[in-house]
């Protein structure tokens, strides 16, 4: 791993506390984490470990209760809703387990959507969305609606949508969870390629063999980082 790459994400002592009824639930209890450009990280942990909460905070869908979160050097912790929406739009590409495509829109329109919210002019938007779909191998499926596509194809549309705005990181939450193992492997190959092209990827999974694709594995338990290791070296860092 090249330590000279610029830092994209820097988290210091992040906590997240929910109030459920009268009880306080500590989902995250002090997470510190640095992610550099072109890293490929898998976040692992049992359910209830807080990995989803961490992903939501990294993805700017949620804000931490305490702690500092710098995204490209900018403090995200105290941004308002509009600023967060802007970060999500420009800097983060989401890939979900359930694909989360807009059902009534065709593939092309689904991929165009982040560009619409980014106010990209129509002609450029079309071109970029088409190219993004071609890049994931769906050049011939642009006008199909999600229900006319297979699971793997849907996930490819979602990946094209995540990439179309050239985000700083791609955040994939169990991207193969709803796919058979062969298709899942194809999607993982796609992530491999994206990583080689210079993209930064954070992947949430609970499958060890999926996590093996990543270069660095972060294990979460009880709201804290249990282990942070490089896959090749098998060496515990923290």
């Amino acid at each position: 791993m090249d330590d000279k790459n610029p830092v994209i994400i820097e988290m210091k002592n992040i906590t997240k506390t929910y109030i459920v009824g009268l009880e306080e639930v500590h989902a995250l209890r002090g997470i510190s984490l640095t992610v550099r450009k072109n890293e490929y990280i898998a976040v692992m942990g049992p359910s209830g470990s807080g990995k989803s909460t961490l992903m939501n905070i990294i993805g700017c869908l949620d804000t931490p209760t305490t702690g500092i979160y710098l995204f490209n050097g900018i403090n995200v912790s105290d941004m308002d809703d509009n600023q967060l929406a802007r970060i999500r739009n420009k800097e983060i590409g989401f890939v979900f387990q359930t694909f989360n495509l807009i059902p009534r829109s065709n593939a092309l329109h689904n991929v165009e959507l982040p560009l619409i919210y980014a106010n990209v002019p129509k002609i450029e938007r079309r071109e970029r969305a088409k190219q993004a779909l071609i890049n994931v191998g769906l050049g011939d499926r642009m006008n199909h609606k999600p229900n006319e596509l297979s699971g793997g194809q849907r996930q490819r549309v979602a990946i094209a949508r995540a990439l179309v705005n050239h985000p700083s990181i791609i955040l994939a939450d169990e991207p193969t969870g709803n796919l058979d193992s062969k298709t899942g492997e194809e999607i993982m190959q796609l992530f491999e390629e994206l990583h080689k092209k210079g993209n930064t990827i954070i992947l949430v999974t609970h499958e060890e063999y999926i996590a093996e694709h990543a270069k660095r594995i972060i294990r979460i338990r009880d709201g804290m980082i249990e282990a942070d290791e490089l896959v090749n070296h098998r060496k515990v860092y923290s």
């Binding site: 939501n56 993805g59 869908l61 949620d62 809703d81 509009n82 929406a85 802007r86 999500r88 739009n89 420009k90 989401f94 979900f96 989360n100 495509l101 807009i102 059902p103 009534r104 829109s105 959507l113 982040p114 619409i116 919210y117 980014a118 106010n119 990209v120 002019p121 129509k122 938007r125 949508r161 705005n165």
Partner: protein, 407 residues
């Protein structure tokens, strides 16, 4: 921003088309509301036109000296005890009055009018003098009004209103023919052009027959009944002055002392206009209430369906937020959707209103006003916006994490 508006429109049409029946039922309240507001304004416009036309045939500078007041608070039994206005009153009044340009008596009898086997039933037969013509704005389709000689001599000649002539002489020139009025033969000497409005009922000149008053008295013996003295002022500006003079002269004719109440009434068309305005006002308020109510129900319907729509699309909203839609964008999207639903309702309502206005046109000549169309579109759009605010806000403030988890 334009991009996002287009996207909003696209989403809205998609959503509406995906739920055609639901959208249509939702918009029904708006359809009815807009339809009724357009129809009402159209109908009132028609009634207005008709009334103005009718009222102008009466003349705005004409006074009617009567035993009874047309309108007002005077008690009927008091007025009933007044002496009748007689032909002699008319003669005395005429000899004293200086301002009016025309003074004529008017007596009315209701009779059947026959020509061969055709009968016009219960026609108002107005008896007057040749001067009556000058108190009206009548124009003639054919022939003429009776002259002084015919009037003074009480000749049996008749002038037919337009409708009466149409009725009795479908394909014949009436002038020169002889009709039977209440059994007596009258020679038709003139036919009026269409004058009045259906609003005036039997008082509409189109439905009347005019004969010399002396002929009317001779055949139908109406001397004992009260008559009306019709007085025309030189112009509308001198109407008040003419009215004051008429009052003075009538008091003189009736030999009333200064402290005595007048035992006659001087009526004018203005009273009619007032009554008309009041009536139309009430109809308008009623219509407005009905319209408002149906628009309100429509708005509630749209609000309801929009809440359902927001609930159904919680996950979609979560997705949109995750990929960068701001609160404003989500809000705009749902406001657009509700206003488009409402606008479609408005256009459907307008469509029905235009069709129905052709039906109304058969009874009262009228047409849909451009202002009503603009108003209808504006109202339906506004209703859509207003009813969409709460659901759109509910959608905008959804938490992205929660809504992405929503099944």
């Amino acid at each position: 921003m334009l991009n996002q508006l287009k996207e909003g429109l696209f989403i809205s049409f998609n959503a509406i088309l995906a739920n055609k029946m639901r959208s249509f039922l939702t918009t029904l309240g708006i359809v009815i509301g807009v339809c009724s507001v357009v129809l009402m304004s159209t109908a009132i416009k028609g009634v207005d036109n008709s009334f103005q036309q009718g009222i102008s045939s009466l003349g705005s500078d004409v006074l009617y000296i009567d035993k009874f007041a047309w309108f007002g608070n005077e008690e009927f039994w008091k007025m009933r005890n007044r002496p009748n206005i007689t032909y002699e009153d008319y003669l005395k009044f005429k000899s004293l009055a200086k301002l009016p340009i025309a003074i004529a008596p008017q007596a009315i009898s209701v009779r059947n009018v026959k020509f061969r086997e055709r009968t016009a039933e219960s026609i108002f037969i107005t008896g007057s003098t040749d001067e009556y013509l000058a108190t009206t704005n009548f124009t003639f389709k054919s022939g003429r009004f009776f002259n002084e000689i015919e009037s003074e001599g009480g000749r049996d000649v008749a002038v037919l209103g337009y409708d009466v002539a149409e009725n009795l002489f479908p394909n014949l020139e009436p002038v020169g023919m002889t009709v039977k009025i209440g059994g007596y033969s009258y020679q038709v000497i003139g036919v009026l052009n269409k004058q009045g409005s259906t609003l005036l009922g039997s008082f509409n000149p189109d439905k009347q027959v005019y004969v010399p008053i002396k002929s009317l008295f001779r055949h139908f013996g109406l001397n004992w009944r009260t008559i009306t003295i019709v007085v025309r002022a030189p112009n509308s500006q001198l109407l008040e002055e003419t009215k004051l003079e008429a009052e003075q002269i009538m008091r003189q004719v009736r030999r009333l002392k200064a402290y005595e109440e007048a035992n006659f009434s001087i009526n004018q068309q203005e009273g009619l206009t007032q009554i008309y305005k009041n009536t139309v006002g009430v109809i308008q308020i009623g219509g407005l209430l009905i319209t408002g109510l149906s628009l309100f129900v429509g708005a509630i319907g749209i609000m309801n369906i929009m809440f359902v729509s927001v609930k159904e699309r919680t996950r979609e909203i979560g997705i949109r937020k995750a990929i960068g839609a701001t609160k404003k964008i989500i809000m705009t999207q749902f406001l657009l959707e509700s206003s488009i639903i409402s606008l479609i309702g408005g256009l459907i309502g307008l469509f029905f209103a235009i069709i129905l206005s052709y039906v109304i046109n058969q009874f009262i000549p009228t047409s849909v006003q451009i202002s009503a169309v603009v108003l209808a579109i504006f109202i339906s759009f506004l209703t859509g916006i207003v009813s969409g605010i709460a659901p759109a806000w509910a959608a905008a403030k959804l938490d992205p994490v929660e809504s992405l988890r929503y099944e």
